[in-house]
């Protein structure tokens, strides 16, 4: 019975923005769907016991690449987004072998430095990237049925598809042997090495997957907003993603989803009262770190389990 309720809640969350016709509501909902894959992307690295602060950089690479491809070379948007994602993945595959040998705090600092370098380059090179002012006038995606579906609805649906695919991949991964192997690497890497597992290659693969998710999110984001600047892909985004994961819960795929659904609208609602926004944010993060480190998902699951026993 309880599981049913979650499906209903999910369906309601999806249908409500569509039915309401409220542009702002749709906008927030679309941002949620774009940020869920980002939150999942950082979650993937956390599953391997490492915190990557490079995800905004991958998102930025995806965003700038797809925008520039469409604007300067006239590539169709769909291909451009894919190309952006692939370039981000390529970046991950290039730096992965170097970064992933390092563990703990140093890995965090490495990815942080990498993200800063990428971001600073977006700021410095005004010629392709538009510098601090960013890229304006990114043409929206042209899609069939332009009369039936409004632009906002289209992007929401696109975001939903993106989220659904990311969720599907993450769930399949979680339950499959590759998920088991990654968990094993996190729990006891020495044992896995002794058994002959090429631990580094698995870490690179996971890192590359997370970069792909981030890169594609970036592409969709670019077309959705129509304007990108280095500000959007900085450390603040990493903080947001961390908060989503801490609040939602790291150990389950639904944790980041729950976290995004809560945090993204919260940030938007408080946008006018920026000082309060930050304060609430920081207090939330602190509260969860101190008292509920496993995130909301752990509370929810516990509630679910209790219910099933009660019903049984």
């Amino acid at each position: 019975m309880p599981r049913y309720i979650w499906w209903l809640v999910g369906a309601a969350l999806i249908v409500a923005p569509l039915l309401s016709g409220n542009r702002y509501f749709l906008y927030i909902a679309t941002m949620v769907t774009i940020l869920i894959p980002m939150a999942l992307s950082i979650n993937l690295t956390l599953r391997l016991g490492q915190l990557s602060l490079a995800q905004p950089a991958f998102m930025g690479i995806g965003a700038y690449t797809s925008a520039l491809l469409v604007m300067n070379l006239g590539v169709p948007s769909g291909f451009a987004i894919l190309a952006g994602g692939l370039l981000a993945t390529l970046a991950a595959v290039v730096v992965g072998p170097i970064f992933l040998r390092v563990k703990g705090v140093y890995f965090v600092l490495l990815t942080y430095s990498f993200a800063q370098i990428v971001n600073l380059n977006f700021q410095y090179w005004t010629t392709p990237f538009g510098g601090n002012n960013g890229l304006f006038g990114i043409p929206p995606i042209s899609y069939p049925g332009g009369d039936l579906i409004s632009k906002n609805t289209f992007y929401f649906l696109l975001g939903l598809i993106l989220t659904a695919i990311s969720l599907y991949i993450m769930r399949r991964f979680e339950k499959s042997d590759s998920g088991m192997i990654c968990d094993a690497l996190n729990e006891d890497e020495m044992l896995c090495l002794a058994l002959g597992s090429n631990a580094l290659s698995w870490r690179i693969a996971a890192f590359a997957c997370s970069a792909l998710m981030a890169g594609i999110s970036g592409g969709v984001y670019a077309f959705f907003i129509g304007f990108i600047s280095p500000d959007s892909f900085g450390f603040q985004l990493s903080v947001d993603l961390i908060v989503m994961n801490v609040v939602g819960g790291v150990s389950s795929t639904f944790g980041p989803v729950l976290g995004s659904v809560i945090i993204v609208p919260l940030l938007e609602l408080l946008r006018d009262a920026r000082q309060y926004q930050l304060l609430v944010y920081g207090l939330c993060l602190l509260f969860f770190m101190l008292f509920c480190r496993k995130g909301l998902v752990s509370l929810v699951w516990r509630g679910l389990r209790r219910n099933s026993f009660g019903n049984a």
């Binding site: 590759s178 020495m190 044992l191 002794a194 058994l195 290659s201």
Partner: protein
């Protein structure tokens, strides 16, 4: 099968291993012993790929495996067990064994995607029976007693069908009856499974009873190599252990 030549390993100014050489014959149980601080563990770690040697060569079945990383060594057909327990605590014994096999077979994402038929699938039953885990298959690994956990470690190494098994102090922490079973197990591994075994140990009675040949190291240098009987009577060995409370029985 395994040949070690001129193997040395330095840590800064300290020479942990100094020009060690020996060969392990196929289907042999080869033991390495020595007083504390002799460099046995370092030697073991160099062979198993944890450290690179400062000098020397290690050859396995004719292939040069010197300085290879531990996972490459694992894939070459050399398995290893650990002194402490390494296992997946929250999973059952059965799951542990299955996971070990999958981890070994699908050793990188490319191998994962190319779903090769599991050709090297030694039946778990034979392994479990030999190691003594058959009655524990559905117990969570973390709940097992230490002795059984060590057996699980051995079973997991066996799941990869190694030709050579490196054992790091296999009986450390076991009670006397467990030690006896371990000794019998090691013999069985050689006799029935055809595995060559190289072990590092402190427990003299076990080493003397189980090994075909023994290498004695002291202060990083090899001081004797021979059968248990030869070692027992070797003057250098007795010198090295003088002052230590060892039974050679």
């Amino acid at each position: 099968m395994l040949r070690v030549e001129g193997l040395s390993r330095r840590f800064g100014g300290l020479i942990a291993c100094d020009e060690i050489r020996f060969s392990v014959m196929p289907r042999e149980v080869f033991g390495i012993i020595g007083p504390n601080g002799a460099g046995k563990t370092t030697l073991f770690n160099v062979i198993s790929g944890r450290f690179k040697p400062s000098a020397g060569r290690v050859t396995f079945e004719g292939r040069d495996v010197t300085g290879l990383s531990s996972d490459k060594i694992g894939r070459s057909g050399i398995g290893r067990t650990f002194q402490g327990v390494h296992m997946f605590r929250e999973a059952t014994v059965r799951e542990n064994l299955r996971n070990a096999e999958v981890i070994a077979r699908r050793h990188n994402p490319v191998a994962y995607l190319m779903r090769r038929k599991t050709s090297r699938n030694v039946g778990y039953d034979a392994i479990c029976e030999a190691v003594g885990l058959t009655s524990h298959l559905d117990i969570v690994a973390g709940n097992l007693s230490y002795g059984v956990q060590k057996m699980l470690g051995i079973a997991m190494a066996l799941v990869t069908s190694p030709k050579l098994l490196l054992m790091d102090e296999p009986v450390a922490g076991l009670n006397p009856s467990e030690k006896k079973s371990a000794g019998l197990l090691i013999r069985r591994l050689r006799d029935e499974f055809g595995i060559t075994i190289l072990l590092v140990e402190h427990d003299m009675p076990l080493v003397m009873s189980v090994c075909d040949r023994i290498l004695v190291v002291s202060q990083g240098k090899p001081i004797a190599l021979g059968t248990p009987a030869e070692i027992r009577a070797h003057p250098h060995v007795i010198d090295a252990y003088l002052g230590e409370d060892y039974e050679f029985a």
